[in-house]
């Protein structure tokens, strides 16, 4: 792919540049450092954090259990959203704040499809894959709606998506006639829990699959180059034959796909939906993941793997805080503190300073020898 992922090898190195300085300049430095810090903290505070054991779940299947598995499992929706959010951010220089509400819509559509008109259904009324495809399609439509407002009507992304942010959950409720449908067929829950005989939570596979798909898309299409080019300089991109509006729209539609997959995982975990609460505030975490990944929220160059790592960092942090019984009302405050630290650390100004600080003693040492 043509993003900056490969830059480490090609970046010019000055001979007197310390390893530390080179490291701090990498885009992935912050998420990797944050993850390392969290891992170290947990290793020192309680190494049992990393224990993974095999248990038997209530259906008699052997399943892996442990904090690490929980982090990987629970981060799934966020990781998938972060991928789409990165593209939207890169192309339009703004964020979609309606992803939580659109997840509710996608989840509602999928449940409506499999439950038919029943409130509590014990069997699938439609092949699951078809229901999911319909959910993805509907979610893409809503993505296209947001994208149209942003690209063609030139409305700021946050304002444009505010519409769906406000209306989305009502639409989700309306899709199911305001009832809370429950799907009891066990196969519906495979995607959110475990497949029979496989000890790893299914969301981890779905996430891996999505990452793989985007890796392939970025490798075998020009999506990366085009979105970055449009995000950095739309005028110039247009004069090079690109259609900036179409590309912006495209990224919002792609985000729609991500939202639907995340929504499917979420409803599949429990087989039901609560329109007001499902994926509440997840848009903020998704935006945060993009920022933590070292991507500029003003658009342009992006590193999708940074965002993915950022999403895992957020979930790792959440799980760690739960483990140490931090009251969950206080959780957002702790997150905010950590976030401020990370974001400040990732600011170019601070990184330069850091690199400078490390360089001075290194030089002094050289002088002595």
């Amino acid at each position: 792919m043509k993003t900056s992922v490969k830059e480490p090898e090609t970046q010019v190195k000055r001979p007197d540049e310390s390893l530390f300085k080179r490291l701090t300049r990498q885009q992935l430095f912050i998420p990797v450092a944050a993850l390392t810090l969290l891992v170290l903290f947990n290793l020192i505070a309680d190494p049992s954090f990393f224990a993974v054991s095999i248990k038997e779940n209530s259906l008699g299947n052997p399943v892996l259990s442990g904090n690490i598995i929980s982090v990987l499992d629970n981060a799934s929706e966020l990781v998938i959203l972060a991928i789409g959010m990165t593209l939207v951010t890169a192309s339009s220089g703004g964020q979609d704040i309606s992803v939580g509400a659109t997840m509710a819509i996608a989840g509602s559509v999928i449940l409506r499809m499999v439950c038919g008109t029943e409130v509590t259904a014990d069997t699938l009324h439609m092949p699951l894959i078809l229901a999911v495809l319909i959910g993805i399609f509907v979610s893409m439509l809503f993505g296209a709606f947001n994208g149209t407002l942003v690209a063609y009507f030139k409305i700021q992304p946050m304002v444009a998506t505010l519409i769906m942010f406000t209306a989305g959950r009502s639409i989700a409720a309306w899709i199911n006639n305001n009832q809370l449908p429950i799907m009891n067929d066990i196969s519906f829950k495979y995607a959110g829990t475990f497949l029979p005989g496989i000890p790893v939570p299914t969301p981890i596979f779905i996430t891996a699959f999505m990452i793989l798909v985007f890796w392939l898309v970025l490798k075998f299409t020009n999506l990366g180059l085009y979105t970055q080019s449009v995000g950095i300089n739309a005028n110039s991109s247009r004069l090079n034959g690109l259609d900036p509006q179409m590309i912006k729209l495209l990224t919002y539609v792609i985000l729609g796909v991500c939202v639907a997959v995340a929504g499917f995982i979420r409803v599949s975990r429990s087989g039901s939906i609560n329109y007001s609460r499902i994926a509440e505030n997840i848009e903020m975490d998704a935006i945060l993941a993009v920022a933590l990944g070292g991507n500029a929220l003003s658009g342009g160059k992006f590193n999708i793997y940074g965002s993915i790592l950022g999403a895992y960092v957020i979930q790792f942090l959440t799980t760690t805080l739960y483990k140490y019984d931090v009251p969950s009302t206080a959780l957002p405050a702790y997150k905010a503190v950590v976030v401020i630290l990370l974001v400040v650390l990732s600011a170019p100004v601070v990184r330069e300073k850091l690199a400078g600080m490390k360089k001075a003693p290194a030089k002094a040492a050289k002088g002595v020898s």
Binding site: E7, Q11, N222, Y226, I232, G241
Partner: protein, 505 residues
């Protein structure tokens, strides 16, 4: 400090990753002089200015300023301003969404309260005294580029400075405006202000400057009193080599003998666009170099933008190789084998954060299609080929293009279009803000492309440059094509006369 000096820089060093931008450079500015800072693109002029004004921290050396004991500490543009150093940058750095007066006073009002009336009156007075055609309450973005530039100068002038830095202030001004600026500079000189003047226009240097400091490849070549340095010598010092007669490059590249017969590659009739130009006819033959000329704002850029489909085309027909084609958007034009280097390099040309490599392959990549990206190896091969061919100075192909000097950025854009192997290439102001060496290289390149059978439309504000390259000129006035000159008519006086329109009536 030396007697009479207002500013002294000693042993200035500055490094960027992979580049030594400045190496042990000295510079002295005396009271009441206009001092030209000359050098090719990438010689270190802009870097030196940015170090002086605190935009970049320096890696070595000292700066002394009159009235400040010891080495001056300049760590931010604010520090520089407080020390009496004002700057007008090449790229306009004002806020287009604020009013003219606000732009002039931004960051200098004391306290939180602003006396709007006083501010607008003060601004109005200065604008009037400088003859700048803008009202203080007008939104800056609605002014022309030239006026914006003059507002930037007005802002700097008003700041009671000891040192005024003008970094390429004239590149978007027309002759009259330049004269106005020079008058202003002379006034300031008389008041004892030291002026650092960075420009590529040799004539302008010899018109107003007292002294010249020449930089090359980040090192100091020397400081000269203007009378002691004839033009040819200055150019050779800048380039670091003896210069052949510049006027002869047309001959070098194989002569102007382009056949004016043969079928046109592109033929446009009654073309007009949303940019407000009057319908015009245009044609170009295989291997021909022609050009649009005219004053700033005469519509020459709008014409070529209409041909390329960059503006919304509202009427007219276009034929490529005799066949009717519809060009509604740039991609249509690209598919017909047309390339376009836009006038506004920063706004329309480069994609700043992307690497040199990505910038070079961009247009070709777009033509190849969404689902057919070049492999990394292919892209690298293309980029390396053109970096070598056009001698683009960059640390590597992965360097973001925005960190290159203007001339090298322009070469990347040229590379981008040559890579697409166009039949017809439109170059709108390819040499603006570029050093003389690169200018000549670009002119040679244009003629070489023509010799290879490509057609080129060349636009430049410098008429002698057009004369050297073009075999036919379309003259624009007030958004209308008013004449076409070729052969013996192609002389400076004839062009001037046509532009001025005096002999028509």
């Amino acid at each position: 400090m030396q007697e009479g000096a207002v500013l002294e820089m000693r042993g200035i060093c500055k490094y960027f990753p992979g580049v030594r931008a400045l190496q042990d450079v000295d510079f002295t500015l005396r009271e009441g002089e206009i001092h030209a800072l000359m050098g090719e693109n990438g010689a270190g002029k802009s870097t030196l200015i940015k170090v002086l004004t605190g935009v970049y921290p320096k890696d070595g050396g000292e700066v002394y300023i009159k009235g400040v004991s010891g080495a001056a500490l300049i760590r931010s543009p604010q520090d520089a301003q407080n020390a009496g150093i004002s700057t007008v940058y090449q790229e306009i750095t004002l806020c287009p969404n604020l009013s003219v007066a606000e732009n002039m006073y931004i960051g200098r009002t004391k306290g939180a309260m602003t006396n709007w009336k006083q501010m607008n009156q003060g601004a109005g007075k200065i604008l009037k005294s400088l003859g700048i055609p803008a009202g203080p309450t007008q939104q800056l973005g609605t002014c022309s580029i030239a006026v914006q530039q003059m507002v930037a100068i007005a802002r700097a002038v008003d700041m009671e400075c000891k040192v005024l830095i003008l970094d390429e202030p004239t590149s978007s001004l027309d002759d009259q405006e330049v004269q106005k600026l020079f008058g202003l500079m002379r006034d300031l000189r008389a008041k004892g202000v030291g002026i650092i003047f960075v420009t590529h226009f040799l004539e302008q240097v010899y018109e107003v400057c007292d002294r010249i400091t020449v930089l090359r490849d980040g090192t100091l070549v020397g400081e000269y009193v203007i009378e002691d340095l004839p033009r040819v010598e200055l150019v050779s010092k800048m380039l670091g080599k003896e210069l052949d007669d510049m006027a002869d490059i047309k001959g070098e590249a194989g002569g102007t003998a382009v056949s004016l017969e043969g079928a046109p590659v592109l033929e446009a009739a009654g073309l007009c666009s949303s940019a407000g130009i009057k319908p015009f006819d245009f044609s170009i033959r295989k291997g021909e170099v022609n050009g649009f000329t005219g004053l700033l704002g005469s519509g020459r850029s709008e014409c070529v933008r209409a041909i390329f489909g960059a503006d919304h085309v509202t009427g007219g027909t276009v034929k490529m190789d005799g066949k009717d084609v519809k060009i509604r958007k740039p991609l249509d034009a690209m598919k017909q084998g047309i390339g376009y280097l836009p006038e506004d390099r920063k706004g329309d040309g480069i994609v700043g954060d992307l690497s040199v490599r990505e910038n070079i392959i961009l247009a070709f990549q777009v033509m190849k299609g969404f689902f057919h990206p070049f492999s990394r190896a292919q892209a690298e091969a293309f980029a390396d080929e053109y970096i070598k061919l056009l001698e683009i100075k960059t640390a590597s192909a992965d360097t973001p293009i925005k960190s290159l000097s203007g001339g090298n950025q322009q070469k990347c854009i040229l590379a981008r279009w040559i890579l697409t192997d166009p039949k017809y290439l439109i170059l709108d102001e390819p040499t603006r803000g570029i050093d003389i060496g690169t200018k000549i290289e670009i002119q040679k390149l244009v003629l070489r492309l023509a010799a290879e059978g490509k057609s080129v439309t060349f636009i430049s504000s410098e008429i002698d440059e057009m004369l050297r390259t073009c075999s036919r000129l379309i003259v624009m006035r007030d958004r209308k094509a008013v004449g076409e000159l070729c052969g013996e008519d192609l002389t400076q006086t004839k062009i001037m006369a046509t532009i001025a329109g005096g002999d028509e009536e």
